[in-house]
């Protein structure tokens, strides 16, 4: 089968599709570390915020696949954020992230994406 250059560019974009990940956490240094680790993967784009209003605002502006809930988020905030995200995007995957900037981050993201290879 023959492909023209535009087809190949299309395939490349499809294969290299970026996954946008929103991380919310109250600890600035952990937030910075988690975002750095997410962005070390070429197909993942991490955005980190510390407060709920900012999280909601940015969620409406970008097409996120996963929301990671980090440390320090109290139950009421968590419930309100989850309801907001689900209301705006019923397919959003919301994951409780444990362990800070750790070896679990990749597992949690891959599991949420349904891809554990």
């Amino acid at each position: 089968m023959n492909y023209v250059i535009s087809d190949l560019c299309f395939f490349k974009d499809e294969m290299m599709e970026t996954t946008n990940i929103l991380y919310i956490g109250r600890h600035p240094e952990i937030l910075e570390t988690v975002i750095r680790l997410i962005n070390a993967n070429e197909n993942w784009n991490g955005v980190g915020v510390m407060n709920d209003e900012e999280a909601k605002e940015i969620f409406l502006k970008k097409d996120f696949s996963i929301v990671l809930l980090g440390s320090g988020i109290q139950e009421e905030s968590e419930a309100e954020l989850c309801a907001f995200f689900k209301n705006k995007n019923p397919n959003i995957r919301i994951v409780q992230h444990y362990g800070g900037g750790s070896g679990l981050l990749k597992s949690e993201i891959l599991l949420a994406l349904g891809n554990t290879k």
Binding site: E29, T33, S71, G99, G100, L104, K106, S107, T116
Partner: protein, 250 residues
Amino acid sequence: MENTDKIIDGAITNSVLHKSNTRGHANHGWLESYHTFSFANYQNPERMNFGVLRVLNDDRVSQGMGFGKHPHDNMEIISIPLEGDLEHQDSMGNTTVIKEGDIQAMSAGTGIFHSEYNKNKDQLVKFLQIWIYPNKKNVTPRYDQITLDLNDRHNKLQQILSPNPEDEGVWIHQDAWFHIGKFDKDFSTSYELKKPGNGIYAFVLKGDFTIGNIALNERDGLGIWDTNTIKITANSANAEILLMEVPMQL
């Protein structure tokens, strides 16, 4: 990696066997690590956790090397040195050394930073890094370490961790109990689970054992659930085993 877990039928049901040579392996030069459960670049959907036991890393750190300052949150982190000395520093102001016979527990809670280095320039350090999901999120971070009496585990199970600050060993924010036993050949004992619904994960530190009808060798792991008691027999001299009783649900 091919999944080689075996569900055992027979005298023990509801169990999972992780042979030592089926664990994930990473060699970073300064750090050689065997992962019982998925961790970092080792991803195996069949090996994610055993109840709230999420990480069981069997680490060897080169002389003078170690884990630089890095953060954790919302995890109960237990370190058990098997050989050598680890130098610990953390954001709570602790600077300590843990050695064989000690156990260290950290509740990461709302967030901590720490580093762990091999203190010695002439000796490898070997230690177990164990992570347990907490039963309470966003707790105030805390650090604890104790020195255990190694004689207290000869032909008996020595409790080294519990959920209770007043009980033997260190404590964590989870309904988990850890014990270590060092047995003579053919010595047998039983372990009664402390809490209904909990499971137990046995990890062989040295030698050979039989639990129920299942033979275990060094660094094999066996998880058992839906049981109240297990029978353990040492099949070699100075055989050493770590038992981790943990809730099966987060």
